[in-house]
């Protein structure tokens, strides 16, 4: 017969039933500000976001001069012009390596503790293995006409690159290219019909892209959820938590947040206000 102790061991309950608190439970308060993740603000600083859908507060900057960034919910990756770094949920630097200049694309494993970074300028792939970075020897572009637009890390043994293949007529179709991360396995690919860049692949398997009416979330079972939104003319997408995506207006200071959780989808504007 299963039974519950009648006294949970959270700090919140400590004052009522202190004798049941386990050693170490003090270290983590039971009631905390709700943290949504990290965003890159209009001054290119990395800042934590606290809040709920429709109510956001930005915390102080934890890193300046960000070129690219993403956060899984427990692990973050950021790219400056000359380095690639990993940080934890408090914004604390875990490790950093030199990297070629320019932006990067990121993908987290479903568990959110390992990740891949694709450095666009030198077409290189780097893996975060939980405690350090390691280069991955794969050919990310079959030809120079391929443009890698997004990245996924569905299994520890495989990366998925979302590439646009140019043709003589201009921008071609989008393809998802599956690359083995070891000597074993084969390369495969499939066309992404109806998807257009910018796009973002989430660890859940959701693919986030856009259409004329707003944001589209394509689920792994190919079903789609449409989120009405008025989108900037030019934007990029970054993961800011497990089921939250930051949308960055590339021509302005506006920042938006997309909630992709099933049944709670929404499109919100993040504060970009400045103190008076």
């Amino acid at each position: 017969m299963t039974s519950l102790t009648t006294k949970p061991w959270t700090t919140a309950l400590l004052f009522v039933l202190p004798v049941l608190v386990l050693p170490g439970a003090w270290a983590q308060p039971a009631i905390t500000p709700p943290k949504l993740g990290f965003v890159e603000d209009s001054s290119r600083a990395l800042r934590p976001v606290f809040g709920l859908a429709g109510n956001f507060v930005l915390g102080p900057s934890v890193a300046p001069k960000i070129v690219s960034q993403a956060f899984s919910g427990s692990l973050g990756l950021l790219k400056t012009d000359s380095s690639l770094a990993a940080f934890d949920s408090r914004g604390k630097l875990l490790a950093s390596i030199d990297a070629a200049p320019g932006p990067a694309l990121f993908a987290f494993s479903p568990g959110g503790v390992t990740a891949l970074a694709y450095i666009i300028s030198d077409n290189s792939l780097v893996e975060w293995r939980g405690n350090s970075f390691a280069p991955v020897a794969v050919n990310c572009q079959e030809s120079s006409a391929d443009t890698v637009l997004a990245l996924a890390f569905p299994t520890p043994f495989e990366a998925s690159l979302f590439v646009q293949r140019r043709t003589v007529q201009g921008a071609g179709a989008l393809w998802e290219v599956h690359l083995p991360l070891s000597a074993f396995g084969t390369v495969s690919q499939n066309a992404l019909v109806g998807v257009r860049a910018p796009l973002l692949a989430l660890p859940s398997g959701d693919l986030v892209y856009w259409d004329a009416d707003g944001i589209v979330v394509r689920k792994p079972d190919a079903s789609e959820v449409h989120i009405a939104a008025s989108l900037p003319a030019s934007f990029s997408l970054q993961q800011m938590k497990l089921d939250w995506v930051q949308l960055t207006d590339l021509n302005g200071s506006a920042r938006f947040a997309i909630h992709t959780a099933l049944g709670r989808e929404g499109f919100y504007q993040l504060p970009s206000s400045n103190p008076e």
């Binding site: 519950l4 102790t5 500000p33 504060p271």
Partner: protein, 466 residues
Amino acid sequence: MIIRALLFASILPLSALAQLQVYVASGTAAGTCSLVNPTLTLVGSTLSVGTVAIGDTVETQFRVQNTGSTSVPLQVSLSGDGFAIDAPPAPNVPPNAESAFCVDFTPTVLASYSAILDVNGNNITLLGQAAAVATVTLSGSTTPLPYGATVGFGSVAVGASQTQGFVLSNSANTSVTVTSVKVSGSGFALVAGLSLPADIGHGQSVPFQVNFTPQSGTPYQGTLTVDSRSFILTGQGLAPPLPAATIVFASSVGASKQQNSITIPLASASQVSGTGTLSMAFQPSVAGVADDPAIQFLTGPLRKATVSIAIGATSATIGGQPNIAFQTGTTAGTITLTLTLENNPPQQTTLTIPPALINLTDEVTAVRIPGALNVAFSTFDNTHSASQLAFTFYDLKRKPLSQGPINVETNAFQLYFENNATQYGGMFQMLATFLVTGDTTQIGFVTAQITNSAGTTTAQQIPFGN
């Protein structure tokens, strides 16, 4: 009035003046019979005040200096047509001081003029010459405009025009020629149709018009110049008022955790441009709470936006955009928006955020961990008063466990809000961990109850995941 003074080369001593010396002053006019830093020239027995158009007046300022050590009485008189003392002198000239007076010369016919200026019994012959020029009168008037006269166009609405007619006429016996008529100054323009040079015979006249078209609600000044004679043109632009503006919320429902937006439609298309500000203030209804930082505009300064109205616009722009988004925060109270536009009294609109039950449906998770169960909520309490919790656990068949609900009376929320409300308002994330003896996989669901001052909320059964 312009003061001019000419000094003839011949200067005679005025011995009769004893310790007084008479000077004529020239310089920039600073008002009636007043000069700024004048140049003084000793006056002889004759002084020409120059050539003046009929009907015009030229003013000459004299200064009598006392170089002695005692005060001297001063008596000044004038005889002769066309001349008149404008500003008389003081009756005495103190030692080492001076007294000033002015003489006007206003010829009325084409002739040479002379007059005797008597200063303490010593005579100075004043000479003047009338010039044959066209006189300038306002349409409908017979009185010539004196040199430097001001012609007022009155107050005219911005964008509208006021036309003033003028007449060039010749009262002399000989023909006169007007070679130049010019209008300068923003807002003023000479109406086409005047043919120059214009020969005007005795008794004849030539009309012309000047338009005043203000572009803003400000005073205007220009100049009408007829050959060498100038007249001042003045007018006042009248800006029409800005149309009535209204603060409109995209959603008029006051509630926490909302992103709302504001537009400012105008009652009619604006005939003028204008600027102003839209400011936001928040008055919490929660005792001891001063503010909620999440209540802010989502672009620009946190609680102040610039409002602009363009000519022809039917709505204002806010921060350069048709609307501005804002957050309603997670604290009960009243959000006040104040719109202040140029030359209009401020207007206010409020959005009341009422106390609300704590929502337990949006961000709720229940997971099994080895030996325990975690139940977490991310939500808000806009009353900052949560105090009671209750959890009921169910087996896989949704049947409550026999032990019944676990009730908790806690001040943890009070402590949290005291320390965090100024940064995060009423939002919070709560994690409750429950030790379990036995197989946690046999526990399928949990419901939670939470109570604040607005009431008690019960969550639906939440399934446990791993």
